[in-house]
């Protein structure tokens, strides 16, 4: 069964050689950003894809990871290599707390989606008003380029760092899906009452899932902070990341190992293409057009490809293989 990790190794290898083919900073920045979104989406996919609990507020975890990463450095002088795991743990703790509150109150479906959204908004308002987080002016991580400071002269190095995290996310998801915990989580998604009747502690399973999920998304937030070295409340806790972390797995394939990665690359690729095409056509950037495309994709996916692009691919392959 080790062979199930082979596709992961292959995909990571292909992504790893990509920077060798380009020296364009724009391309490398785009790829790093896409992988950060993919990582955030991998986190969402654990809870939403495998666990069936749709969060509309993963920005709460992304932002906590991002602010954790930036503030631990700026306010406490902690080295980024230590700050990144700490920020991840902080995000996981916030996730566990939100999960404990909302799952104990038996929130699910639309209610769970709304309460997560409301938590993300509360964090955004607080971060925007509080002096410690830099308020509306945001927080700037000072530029000091050295490897010990997790700032690299070469953009490809940071890309590889993000890729390593994405690879770890893929392996973790695969291991989880094959473990007993993964089976419990899917059982809770399919029918919570039936799972409980079979002796699955559904509350504990959902709590573990949201903790893991928010930790991974917080790691993505931490990497975002270190990549761009600037944050404000609208970036860190903004609804854009809640939406993209949710869209990527749905478009790629909900509850699959590769869904978030495929979805994020397709989604952001299309978004970028739309922006460039419309920018040329109308002679200037038009805000929001990429998100309009995302919204249309979401509806099309729900209507015609409920198992995402990966599911669609599998269907097409089965059709082709069928003897006529």
């Amino acid at each position: 069964m080790r062979s199930s990790y082979l596709p992961i190794a292959l995909a990571v290898a292909i992504l790893a050689v990509l920077p060798l083919g380009t020296s364009s900073n724009t391309t490398l920045n785009f790829l790093s950003f896409a992988l950060i979104v993919a990582l955030a989406a991998q986190g969402w996919n654990i809870l939403g894809g495998y666990g069936g609990q749709f969060s509309f507020g993963h920005a709460a975890f992304f932002g906590t990871g991002a602010y954790g990463m930036a503030l631990l450095q700026v306010r406490f002088g902690i080295n980024p290599w230590l700050a990144l795991p700490l920020a991840t743990l902080l995000g996981a703790a916030v996730g566990a707390a939100i999960g404990a509150l909302s799952f104990r109150a038996r929130l699910r479906g639309s209610y769970f989606a709304l309460v997560t959204l409301a938590f993300a908004e509360v964090f955004r308002i607080l971060a925007n008003a509080w002096g410690f987080t830099g308020g509306a002016a945001g927080v700037l991580v000072p530029l000091r380029i050295e490897a010990a400071n997790m700032q690299f002269a070469d953009r490809a190095t940071f890309y590889w760092l993000v890729l390593a995290c994405v690879a770890a996310g893929l392996v973790l998801t695969q291991a989880m899906a094959r473990a007993r915990f993964g089976a419990w989580l899917v059982a809770v998604r399919e029918n919570e009452e039936a799972a409980r009747a079979l002796g699955v502690d559904s509350l504990a399973v959902k709590l573990r899932a949201i903790t893991l999920s928010s930790g991974i998304t917080a790691l993505a937030g931490g990497l975002y902070a270190q990549k761009f070295l600037y944050l404000d409340a609208g970036i860190a806790y903004g609804s854009w990341i809640s939406v993209e972390a949710l869209l990527a797995p749905i478009i790629g394939g909900l509850g699959t190992v590769f869904g978030p990665l495929v979805g994020a690359l397709v989604l952001l690729g299309l978004g970028e293409a739309t922006k460039i095409a419309l920018g040329h056509a109308l002679g200037g950037a038009v805000p929001g057009v990429d998100l309009v495309v995302f919204g249309v994709l979401l509806i099309l996916c729900v209507a015609f490809a409920p198992r995402g692009l990966l599911g669609l691919g599998a269907d097409v392959r089965r059709l082709l293989r069928r003897p006529v």
């Binding site: 998100l291 979401l298 509806i299």
Partner: protein, 285 residues
Amino acid sequence: MLPLDIFLSAMANGLMMGAVYALVALGLTLVYGVLHIINFAHGATLTAAMYAVYVAHAMLGVDPYLALPGLAAIFFALGYLVQRWVIGPASHGDDSNILLVTLGLSIIMENALLAGFRSDTRSIDVPYGFSVVEVGNLFLSTPKLVAFAGSFVVAALLWLLLARTDTGRAIRAVAKEKTGAALVGVRVEHIYAVTFGLGAACLAVAACLLMPTFLVNPRIGKAFTIVVLGGMGSIPGALIGGLFVGVVESLSGLYLGESLGQIGIFLIFILVLLARPTGLFGARA
């Protein structure tokens, strides 16, 4: 402490704003009661309606109050068509799919408005925008009083429609037992779409009542939806919940300041959800 007059005028402002919240909540409650889903595109639809009022006034010179019947009819038709031809077919009858489709619709509307109007905040300038009525020591804004009264008129009309007409009976039948309703000849898909249309029409009315004193930007609607959820579940619940939220918002804005003021309503929303997931006045789950 603040003088009593300031407190009272904040209360009055909150109540008047709350009436419009109640109207927004009413549309959401109606859709929730019949389709048993939270229409995530509700806020974005309100934003779209507010832009429609803005465009009607700025480009065609139509007064918001005169635009009200026309816009209500247009939004009823749009809501009907979207439910009948987009949300219904796309979600295959699955609740979490409806949630995602309405999320997709809200993303499309919000960002299409952003692309069309940019993120500038806009308002309209009507001659009666700043006129006031003096009540004791308080000066109450006339357009806000109109909004307060208008919201209750619409709520009464909606109640009459539900209680006294055949369509209303069919809506209540589908809400209670859709299979049974279908068996006695109610066209469930049609009733779903009518309900959605009524929800959208409520928003068009709310937009016409809001715009004389309010402003609009592409992201304004989302906060509205979250705000009104506390009162979901029943028509009186939506009304009382809306008024309550208006007062909380006004008072927390007064005591906590502009930027932190919003936090009160979100915290109340979270507490309400955690304690009573079906809304302050909804039935126990």
